[in-house]
Subunit: 447 residues, 2 copies
Amino acid sequence: MKLGRPRGTRDFLSGEMRVRRTIIERIRGVFEAHGFEEMDTPAIELWEVLAAKGGEEVEHQIYKFQDKGGRWLGLRFDLTVPLARVVACTPDLAKPFKRYNISKVWRYEEPQSGRLREFLQADIDVVGSPRVEADLECISTAVDALRALGLSGFEVRVNDRRILEGMVERLGMDGEGRSKVFRALDKLDKIGIEGVRRELAAAGLEEGKAEEVLSFISCRGREALEYAERELDSPAAREGASDLRRIGDLASAFGLDSLLVDFSLVRGLDYYTGPVFEIKTGTAEIGSIAGGGRYDRLIERFGGPATPATGISLGIERLFEVLKGSGTGQGPVKVFVAGVSDRVTAEAVRISRELIGRGIPAETDLMGRRLGRQLEYADGKGIPYVLIVGPEEISRGKFKLRLMKEKREISGSLEELAGEITGAIGGGRGGAGAEAGEDRSQLRTQA
Amino acid sequence: MKLGRPRGTRDFLSGEMRVRRTIIERIRGVFEAHGFEEMDTPAIELWEVLAAKGGEEVEHQIYKFQDKGGRWLGLRFDLTVPLARVVACTPDLAKPFKRYNISKVWRYEEPQSGRLREFLQADIDVVGSPRVEADLECISTAVDALRALGLSGFEVRVNDRRILEGMVERLGMDGEGRSKVFRALDKLDKIGIEGVRRELAAAGLEEGKAEEVLSFISCRGREALEYAERELDSPAAREGASDLRRIGDLASAFGLDSLLVDFSLVRGLDYYTGPVFEIKTGTAEIGSIAGGGRYDRLIERFGGPATPATGISLGIERLFEVLKGSGTGQGPVKVFVAGVSDRVTAEAVRISRELIGRGIPAETDLMGRRLGRQLEYADGKGIPYVLIVGPEEISRGKFKLRLMKEKREISGSLEELAGEITGAIGGGRGGAGAEAGEDRSQLRTQA
C-alpha cells in the first residue's frame, strides 16, 4: 500500500522549497519596505462569510464541510474575503490599513500546469483610501516585488469598471446582459476578438451593439480616455475616466514606465467598483502574473461601514513555475564535520555546534558512517566544506578542511578554519535572513 | 450583519503578527543553521493517509470532508503524517533526511488558552538514522531555537518506550492493559501521583502491581537506569536503557546541560518506539513547550520500507502566548514622507520610493490628508521619522526631517537626511531579513 496526495496538490522538498522560500521572502521584504504589514487569518472560515462575497463560480469551487458540531465551514478561496471580514469587524483600524498576506488558498478546479487546487497567493491591499494613489501603491509595490525576483519588461494594463458600466448602460443593457458582456470580454485573452464576437452573438446581443462593444474595447491609452470622455454620459463613467487620467499622470512618480489604459480589461465578474489592473512580464511563459482592482462596496457586504479599498494579488505558483529552475541546488549547510570513527563523535558534535555558534551553518554525521560515506553524503548535498576530525587532530588542535569543489585541503586551528570559511561565504549568517539578502542573480528567469 | 470566525481560530494583525513572524523566522534560522531543510506539503490529505497513522482520539479530531468528486479528505492534524507519506513514497531520498516544517495544523478540540483549533507547529525530524545522535540532534536544535527566542532554564526529560514496554511486560499485562497504564501515566503532570493511583485502580490493575508501576515511574536519572538494568529482562528494554545511557553521555557535547531520565514520561499513546523526550523552560507560564520521540515503524504503515525516524515538535501558540507582550509596537516603516498639499503628491511619492531604493522602508500619504493628519498617522504607527515635502523644499532641494520621539527637526538634502536615517537605523535593510537579524532582546519573556 502506497498512499498518495489529493489531486491538484503538491509536496515541495529541499531544492524546490528553497526557491519558493526565496520567492516568498523577497516579496515579503518589498511589501514591508513599502509599509504593508502582515496579517494572518484562519484557513477555515464560516460558510456564511465565504458566501457573503457571492459569485456562483467561486461557490462551486469552495471546499465546504461541517465541523463536529454541525457548523458549516469552508476553506478560504482567496485572501480578500478574510480581509473584508476583519475590516468589517474591526472598526477602529487606523486608515489607511495597508496589509499583506502570503498564504495558501484552495479551489476545486481542474488542475493544469501552474494551476493547483491548493496554491499560494501574495496579496497587498490598501483599505480606507478612495484615491488612485492607493491603487498605484498596490500596482507599484507589486511591480517592485517582481523586480526583486529578477523579472523585467513589465506591462501594466488598467481600466475602470465605471467605464465598462457606462458602456453597457449606453447600450441600454440590464444586469443580466451586462454580466454576459463582461463574461465575454473577460475571455478576450483566451479566445481572441473573433471568439468574443461569437460569445456576444450567442449571448443575444444584436450585431450593431456587439460591434460597438468591440470597437470600444479595442481602444487603448490616451485615445481611449478621450473616446470615453466624448462618448459616455454617466457621471460615474466620467469619474472613472478622470481617475484613469490621474493614474496615468502619477504613474512615473510611482516608478511605472509602461502603464496602458486598456478598455478590454475586465478582471472577472467580481466585486470591483473602480480601477482594475493587471501586470504582465516580458517573460513569455508567465503572461499575467498579478491582478486586482478597487472594491469600495465589499466591506459593506460583511456588515462593515462603507469603506473604500483596493488591492492586488500575485500568483506565486506561476512565478514558481518560471523560477524553479534557478535554484542553486545548495542547501544552507556550509560545513560537514566528519568524524573518522565513533570514538570522536562527541568531539565532532561539539565542533559542529561551535561552528554554528560562529554563524556557520554546519552538520555532522548522525549515522555512525565511515569517513568515505560521510564525504559522499556531503558531496551529494553540495556542502562546500568538510572538516575532518580524528583523535590526532583533536589532540593537536589542528584540523584538515576539505574544499569539496576544488578537491584540495587546507589545515589549521578551528579558529583559523572558521575564519577562512566565514570569509569565503561572506559574513556567515545562516537562515532565511541571509537567503533573503542574497545576491539577486540567484533567482533569474530562464527566458 | 457582522460575520465571525470559526471557534478556536484567530486573526493576527500588525503588532501580534510581527511577534509571530519574528518567532517563526528565528526558529527557521536555527533549524537551517543545523542543516534541516524546509519541506511543505498540502494542508489537505487523503482520508486514508490521515487514518493510516491510527489513534482513535486523533481520528475524532480531524476535520473530514468530501471533495466535489466524492473523495474523502481531511485537514492534517500534525506534520508527522505528511512526512511519513512523503518518505514512504520517495525511496530515493538521501539519508539522513533532515527536514523542518513550520506550518498550520487543525484539530477539532475544545478551545482553551493557548489551545486553538487551527494552530502553528514547528517540527524537525531526522529520517534514516537509528542512532541516538539523531534524537539528540532534534532535542538540541529545538533547545537552540528556544534560546534564540530569549528563553532559558531548560529542563529536558527523556525516557524510552522500550523501557515502559518492559515494565508492563514484567507485570504480565496485555495490549489493552498496557494502553490503560500508559494512558494513566500520561496524565501524571495534570492529575498528580494520587490521580494516577486512582486511574490505575479504575483500570482494574491490582494494588501490588499499581504500586510497582508507581515506584518504577518515580525513578529519575542514573538511579533509574540502574534500576531498569537490574529489574527488566527483555532485550528491548535493555537496549532502551543502553540508548538512554548513551544519550546521557553525549548530552553535553550537544549543548544540553540538564537532561534528566524520567520513567514517567510517556508522550501519549502514539507511535513511538524508542526514546521519547520533552522540553520545559524555566518560564513558569510555558511549561512543556516541545516534545517528540523516535518512531521507527511509522513509515511502514504508509507503505514505505522499514525506516528509522525521530523528531520533535515545538508548540508555536504557547510560545506566542508568552512572547506576545514583547513586541515593540513598531512596524517596518522608518520614514513617513508627508506632502504639504496635493500639488506635491508626485514628488512625495518619488522621494518615498527613492528612500525605499536606498534600503529605508518608507511610505507616503495615500489619502490626500492635511499635514497635521499625516503627522498624527505617522505618530500613531510609531514611525520614527517624518520627511516634509513642500514646493519650497522641492525647489531648494532641502528638506526638513522630523524626529518624532525627540520632537525636533533637522534639515538637509535628501542625500544627507537618508544618510542620517540609515546611520540611526543601522544598515537600513527592511523586511523579514532585518527583523530576523535584530537584537535578540526584543523578544523577551515577561517572566
